[in-house]
Amino acid sequence: MNIVLPEESQQDASSAEETSLLVIILDSNPGQKMLRESPHVLTHCVDSVIVFANTHLMQKVQNKLAIMACHSKSSQFIYPDQGKHGDIRQVDGQYEAFTAVEKITKKNLAKVLTSDGSAVITESLLAGAIAMALCYIARLQRTKPPGAKLNCRILVVTGSSCSTSQYMNYMNVFFTAQKQNVVIDVCALDQHLNLLQQGCDITNGLYLKVPQLQGLLQYMMWVFLPEPPIREKLVLPPPLKVDYRAACFCHRQLIDIGYVCSVCLSIFCKFSPICTTCHTVFKMPALPAVKPKKRKKM
């Protein structure tokens, strides 16, 4: 009997043709602790990120790239931008497309940095930037031609600390990303990022706290360059134990044990008789009832 085998080999081939989009969110907030101490580190980071971005483009012809700058007050796309860049020509042996990425990114990043106000705010709007990236991805997914496949991932490169005040926003973007099959990778430059690490775990991304900033590029190439399907074929740093503590809604503090509203699941570190989110009224917990002592039966 003739048996037609399923087209395994063809499916393998087609996975190589899928377009993969990488959105890099670069935290350029000058208020980061790392940058306040030594501002020149930013140049090193930007250079590494650009080379990494170009390496991503180098992998496959179809690969797409977007870079965002994340600030204390706003986030914006710095590559690709709307302008026409027909005039960018090679200056040396570098591939034209790479030169274009480098020039456009640096130009727009300079614009973002100079337009920034003088006030130093240490907190960056990372959750907002991820949300923007997700919107961008959703738009591309909607407008792509029928039959095309687009795999997306987001890489967050940041040196600022995790702000618990954005806890809700973080959780919202993480679960949206999970639903849209977007992988979130996080590259922490300076401090350990508790909440973002949870996001990586939720979306099956990788979290790496770079031990030495000098080798940033090499760390990124090793860990973040492989696409998720290739990652399973490589031995990559095992996931650390993720700290899944939640931030309470009243004081934005990470807590182990707290009170949870039984109606809307809001978390509080202290008991409050009215839930601030859904306004449900709770009774005060009754005092432990004193049980009448049972008389011993004779």
């Binding site: 063809q10 390496t55 992998q59 090679q90 031609p145 090793w222 074929k233 490589l234």
Partner: protein, 474 residues
């Protein structure tokens, strides 16, 4: 006992092998080149970039991990990068890297063997990625073109030029001829041949298979054949390849300068112009526009998913589960291609309707076209409407399976070369020989009653020796 060397024929297998169109990818092409040529090629960042993109996924990661490392990396360390389950892929990746001379073995103090990335390749891939070095030959500064051409114009132009070649192959009369050079390449590639009787050019089996490839694969195959003949034309292969890859990494709709190109390259450029890979207004215009045909020239895997950019030519074929094929086209060439494996029913100004039947497919198969080629062709040119459905494959699975079954029908016989042993004097003799050959795995067929057996031809000498020893001993 007499052994009649009954020669079963193996000609059929030979036939099907020799007539299939061999479509090499860049890896196969480079692997068959001598190593000193490879070394010369790696002196150009463009070629390094092109080679890198063609590597298997794992090999790409290995190269990237090692490209910034100066000393050799122990082989055991490299092996530990991949996880155990995928060790086969790891071996494949290492083999490709060695084949292409991208890495070499090097001894590490301490007696271990290590890998080191070829220094030339390392230097030039770094140039492509990070900058430095000389500019590519075609990117001298240009003033703005007063009559700049847009992408749409370039697309129609390249399509026209390329279809000119294809039309010539199928012999449709509506187009003017092509140059003698192109004809020579077609002949050299075996896509066309001279008819024995009247000397006119006719299309070969391979020619038909060629027509069914997608456009990029066609261009790549054609260019490879062209490169084979490059030396006869006194052109430098390395120079031509470098230029070709420069073209393939250029931007569509941008003009490039011919300044600084040698006479050899200018000739090459004129040839590319003829096939529609570049557009030039005048021969001496001093600038040229690469077209879509030249872009990503090596990326010739059969495209089953459309690109994310929406400006590619649209498909025109609808296949229904009742084996009907609707082709929305008015081009004679496309109609001719569809009729290769369908029976036409209706023909309208912008639509032809055909049906895929057993006979029509078998006729195509007899013509040397394979089922995969038919399916590949349908997949590539499938109408966008067919892609919108949620199903995994844009074609109806019943049709795909049936075409494959029709092909398998033709391969019901399995030919093997064998030697027949018969007229054994006793059943014991027969049994001894049968058991011996069976245990060696060379027995093809036996019949106990008639005391005959057929064994693999290659094992004939060995069995004969065994038989002599055995008959002496008994």
């Amino acid at each position: 006992m007499a052994d009649n060397a009954g020669n079963s024929n193996a000609q059929k297998q030979n036939r099907s092998k020799s007539t299939n169109l061999e479509c090499k990818n860049l890896y196969d092409y480079l692997k068959s080149r001598p190593s000193n040529l490879l070394e010369k090629l790696y002196n150009h960042p463009t070629i390094c970039l092109a080679v890198y993109r063609e590597l298997p996924d794992l090999a790409k990661q290995y190269v990237i991990r090692m490209v910034f490392v100066e000393q050799p990396v122990p082989q055991a360390v490299v092996a530990s990068w991949g996880s155990q389950i995928y060790s086969k892929e790891h071996n494949n990746a290492s083999k490709v890297l060695s084949d292409l001379m991208l890495w070499q073995e090097a001894a590490i103090p301490g007696g271990l063997l290590g890998w080191i990335i070829s220094p030339t390749f390392k230097k030039n891939i770094k140039i492509a990625l990070l900058g430095g070095g000389k500019t590519w030959s075609m990117s001298s500064a240009l003033e703005a073109d007063s009559k700049a051409r847009d992408v749409a114009f370039l697309d129609t132009y390249s399509q026209e030029r390329w279809e000119c070649v294809l039309h010539y192959m199928v012999g449709s009369q509506q187009q003017e001829g092509i140059s003698a050079d192109a004809v020579r390449i077609l002949l050299h590639a075996g896509l066309m041949k001279r008819d024995e009787e009247d000397g006119t050019l006719v299309i070969t089996r391979q020619g038909f298979q060629f027509l069914l490839l997608d456009r990029q694969a066609q261009v790549w195959h054609f260019i490879l054949q062209y490169l084979d003949t490059v030396q006869e034309r006194d052109l430098d292969l390395v120079e031509c390849l470098t230029f070709l890859f420069q073209l393939s990494f250029s931007t569509l709709g941008k003009d490039y300068s011919t300044e600084g190109m040698g006479p050899g390259l200018l000739v090459f450029l004129q040839h590319l112009r003829e096939f529609g890979l570049v557009y030039q207004r005048k021969r001496k215009a001093g600038r040229f526009y690469p077209t879509r045909l030249a872009l990503n020239i090596t990326n010739n895997t059969n495209k089953s998913t459309p690109d994310i950019e929406d400006d590619h030519p649209k498909g025109y074929i609808i296949v229904e589960t009742n084996y009907r094929v609707y082709a929305y086209t008015d081009s004679n060439l496309q109609v001719a291609l569809v009729t290769l494996f369908t029976e036409l029913i209706y023909r309208f100004p912008n639509l032809v309707v055909g049906v895929i039947t057993r006979d029509s497919v078998r006729q195509a198969l007899r013509g040397g076209i394979t089922a995969d080629q038919i399916i590949g062709f349908l997949k590539q040119h499938v109408h966008p409407r067919m892609l919108e459905s949620e199903a995994k494959s844009p074609l109806p699975p019943t049709v795909v399976d049936q075409i494959k079954l029709w092909e398998l029908e033709r391969n019901r016989l399995d030919y093997k070369e064998g030697v027949l042993y018969s007229q054994f004097l006793s059943q014991i003799d027969f049994n001894v020989l049968k058991e011996y050959t069976e245990s060696n795995g060379v027995l093809i067929w036996f019949n106990k009653e008639k005391r005959t057996l057929v064994i693999n031809k290659a094992a004939h000498d060995d069995v004969k020796r065994f038989w002599k020893k055995y008959s002496k001993g008994s």
